[in-house]
């Protein structure tokens, strides 16, 4: 089925995710689209960034060539310092995550199920994968937002009744932001609910790209970025 309208870009997905962050929250951004979110935090919202590399609070990415190997994020990118940082070791970095001290994390995904199961670390076709900190974030962050393209490169739906790829965590996802839709995962196995659509898309066209069935919010709106 052809798309009724263009899909949103990665920056726009990041922009929409960034609207979820509340003033003062501790946020951990995964590799990929989530990393872009920090560029789009709404005015007046001050966040505290947490990184698995052993860091709380940091400045933006360092300018090219200005990198300090002793100041990196979890993706190995060089950061710039700001006043009020704290450094700590990996045991402490993950104590923070597992202990529920991180308010929200945004993660990429290979698949999300209608129960909020997340698969984002292992491609069976490769036979080996990097779990990194994804499983810890999946169980530990108070809120898990998935930021991803709605379909795989070959068009395969990534929102599914049940994940076929090995799981990262069960029932952990709270919100899915894609290039055509924003979908809530209702608590207690309540399934999925479409709350926002990309311009030119409606519930039916989104459902046609989605293997899992979702309900549609009475307040369904076009995706809100500001």
């Amino acid at each position: 089925m052809t798309d009724p309208a263009p899909r949103l870009g990665r920056e726009v997905i990041a922009m929409r995710v960034a609207r979820e962050f509340r003033d003062g929250e501790v946020v951990n951004l995964g590799i990929g689209i989530p990393t872009l979110c920090s560029d789009f935090v709404p005015h007046g919202v001050q966040l505290m960034y947490h990184s698995e590399s052993g860091l709380l609070n940091c400045g933006p990415l360092a300018d090219d060539g200005d990198g300090d190997v002793d100041l990196i994020n979890a993706g190995g990118q060089f950061l710039s310092p700001i006043p009020g940082m704290a450094f700590f070791d990996s045991a402490e970095a993950f104590a923070m995550i597992r202990g529920g001290h991180v308010d929200v994390t945004a993660l990429g995904a290979l698949q999300v199920s209608e129960m909020g199961d997340l698969a984002n670390w292992f491609l069976p076709s490769r036979g080996v994968g990097n779990v990194g900190g994804a499983m810890d974030l999946a169980v530990g962050a108070k809120r898990v937002i998935v930021a991803m393209e709605h379909n795989g490169r070959d068009g395969t739906p990534k929102i599914v009744p049940e994940c076929s790829f090995p799981l990262t965590g069960r029932g952990c996802v709270g919100l899915i932001v894609t290039d055509i839709a924003v979908i809530e995962v209702l608590p207690e196995g309540g399934g999925l609910r479409l709350i926002e659509h990309a311009p030119g898309w409606d519930a039916a066209s989104i459902q046609s790209q989605t293997e899992a069935e979702f309900s549609v919010s009475q307040d369904l709106t076009e995706i809100t970025l500001v």
């Binding site: 698995e52 990196i72 700590f88 070791d89 970095a93 080996v128 990097n130 779990v131």
Partner: protein, 247 residues
């Protein structure tokens, strides 16, 4: 005798690592916090059939992860390429890109190297448990996933937890910024990562440092790894003399 844990050169520092040893190798994956010269010395020393435990299995060469541009990365890959590694325990063992495999992935696909994947937080916590005399602990991480298969699961307060065991090592090769002669260590920035829990988890911890100072040269409030966890310290030579421009 005044305590002084200084070892004069890298070859001596790793000389008693025997075939079949279990080693932890510090750092997160990039240049920072990684014991480059200890790894080079271990490659030259030649011990084989080693198990290496760390966050990655050497991902810097294909990806440049955490390395300055234009500097040739040195990491676990030099030991793997030298045929010294039989098993890897890591959270992030391979390159982020299927099309650019690291030395580990090539060896793994060839069936030459065994792999145990452990979630990053569980890896750090298993090391901490080993150092802290905790035999095992219940963590929510990986519950209901394939990384919990074969492990005991148990419900506490309505939530599923997985039983994970302490992870010990014969040696830890770690990296710090400053040591005093007693073995107290201070790190720089995000280079701390796995180095402190590894120092506690290994029987013999060998720290590669930028400088060695007298006791009192590190603020006692600022000691990140107390000397009780450190058996040997060895200083990196000044870069200019050595000719190796390593971060």
């Amino acid at each position: 005798m005044p305590i002084d844990k200084t070892v004069n050169n890298f070859a001596d520092a790793v000389s008693d690592i025997s075939d079949g040893s279990v080693l932890m190798i510090g750092g997160f994956g990039g240049a920072g916090g990684m014991p480059h010269l200890l790894m080079l010395a271990l490659r030259d020393q030649g011990a084989r059939n080693l198990t290496i435990i760390g966050n990655t299995a050497g991902i810097a060469a294909p990806t440049g992860f955490g390395w300055p541009e234009g500097v040739e990365p040195i990491d676990h890959a030099i030991l793997i390429e030298n045929g010294q590694i039989a098993k890897v325990i890591a959270s992030f063992p391979v390159s982020g890109s299927v099309s650019r495999p690291n030395a580990f992935e090539i060896g793994f696909r060839a069936g030459e190297i065994e792999l145990e994947v452990v979630p990053q937080g569980t890896l750090a916590e298993r090391m901490r448990a080993a150092g802290a005399g905790i035999a095992a602990f219940y963590t929510p991480t990986a519950a209901g996933t394939m990384l919990a298969e074969g492990k005991e699961s148990r419900v506490f307060d309505g939530r599923v937890y997985v039983l994970e065991r302490a992870l010990h090592a014969d040696f830890a090769l770690i990296r710090a910024k400053t040591a005093d002669t007693l073995g107290n260590l201070a790190y720089a920035g995000t280079s701390r990562t796995f180095n402190p829990p590894m120092a506690a988890a290994a029987m013999v911890t060998i720290a590669e440092v930028d400088e060695i100072v007298e006791p009192g040269g590190i603020d006692p409030e600022r000691v990140d790894t107390p000397s009780i966890y450190v058996q040997r310290i060895v200083a990196r030579p000044p870069m200019a003399e050595d000719g190796v421009a390593l971060p």
